[in-house]
């Protein structure tokens, strides 16, 4: 075994034998807290060793945050007025 082989083996072992391809598929499970303990450990080991997946996870968090801040289009005044009319009718029944 060369030094390079050992390094590869250790890295692979520490990364929980999780590939990036697997990592990107279980991010929502991780964020929802539904990973098993073992998979959570594997996830964290991989995350700690893989810069690409750290970036990817951050992008996913940014995506979620962006979605949560999506601005609403304003209610057209005509629609608001119409709904208010219905409210008045409802109130008087």
């Amino acid at each position: 075994m060369t030094r390079e082989d050992i390094k590869t083996y250790v890295l692979d072992y520490l990364a929980g034998r999780m590939t990036c391809k697997e990592f990107v598929e279980i991010i929502t499970d991780y964020l929802d807290g539904s990973l098993s303990l073992l998979n959570r450990i594997r996830f964290h080991l991989h995350l700690g060793l893989c810069l690409g997946c750290r970036v990817y996870l951050r992008q996913m968090k940014h995506t979620i945050e962006t979605l949560g801040r999506l601005p609403d289009e304003p209610v057209p005044p005509a629609v608001r007025e119409q709904l208010l009319q219905r409210f008045r009718t409802w109130k008087n029944t």
């Binding site: 692979d12 391809k21 951050r58 992008q59 995506t63 962006t66 979605l67 949560g68 999506l70 409210f87």
Partner: protein, 256 residues
């Protein structure tokens, strides 16, 4: 596409350094509208007061409710029915349903969840009538979709010891990215388009969870989904939106 292959230790270090210069991401996993109104922990006092004012026929309270939820209801209805005008009708019916049910509403869920349940049911009925509604119980379609990877396989190495690891790392985004997108007209139009482009079932889950900040439990009950299926749909939807944002940020793709 702009890609950075990071292969040598030097490049790696430079990249890591570049990353560390950027401000850390806030620790919240779910920064969404729920950040203001956490699901299940809604400020009950505000809601009770609003409810009381509504029952007393307070027009300002009703206007507040309309301002707060009308756009969300339209967006949600559109995930079930294809046509914008049909969605608008569904939302009109929803508001009537809200008024009719107001006296019977017991506050076992938040007002928001209750209203969203009404629109979902009405839109579902309408969607079935239009016969384009995606039925979640036909799990065949869902399973098939679940098999598909959410990230383009060409982003990963195909052979060697590091097969299925990144071929080139994704680009880090600036910390201000969410603000940058939602605070510009172009950015929010683009995001809205990216959501609209999702298939109906993915869109329903994504809107309820990430845009509106409902809990997984509430969404599962509303859409009659198992938690596992809901997560699959949510993950697929998020991944597609992430890809769309990547195209916007890195490849200069703009809303049509």
């Amino acid at each position: 596409m702009r890609q950075v292959g990071v292969s040598t230790p030097d490049q790696f270090e430079a990249y890591e350094l570049e990353l560390s210069r950027r401000a850390p991401v806030p620790k919240t996993d779910y920064p969404n509208k729920a950040g203001i109104e956490p699901p299940g922990r809604r400020p009950a006092a505000e809601e009770l007061l609003l409810l009381e004012r509504l029952r007393n026929g307070d027009e300002a309270a009703f206007t507040l409710l309309v301002e707060r939820y009308h756009a969300s209801l339209i967006r949600l209805a559109q995930a079930h029915v294809s046509d914008r005008s049909v969605a608008e009708e569904v939302v009109q019916e929803t508001w009537m349903g809200v008024l009719e049910g107001l006296d019977r509403f017991e506050g076992r869920s938040s007002l928001k969840t209750w209203i969203f349940r009404i629109v979902t049911n009405k839109a579902k009925t309408r969607g079935v009538r239009e016969s384009r509604h995606v039925c979640f119980s036909s799990t065949g379609a869902l399973d098939e979709e679940a098999e598909e990877p959410t990230v383009d396989p060409s982003r990963f190495r195909t052979s060697g010891h590091w097969a299925d690891y990144w071929a080139s790392y994704p680009q880090p985004w600036d910390e201000g990215t969410p603000e940058k997108i939602v605070l510009t007209k172009e950015g929010s139009a683009y995001l809205e388009q990216a959501i609209q482009a999702l298939p109906s079932n993915l869109r329903q889950v994504l809107i309820l969870r990430d845009v509106e900040g409902l809990s997984s439990k509430e969404v599962c009950a509303m859409l009659q989904l198992s938690e596992a299926n809901q997560r699959v749909l949510l993950h697929r939807a998020r991944s597609r939106v992430r890809r769309a944002l990547e195209q916007y940020l890195e490849e200069g793709i703009r809303p049509a």
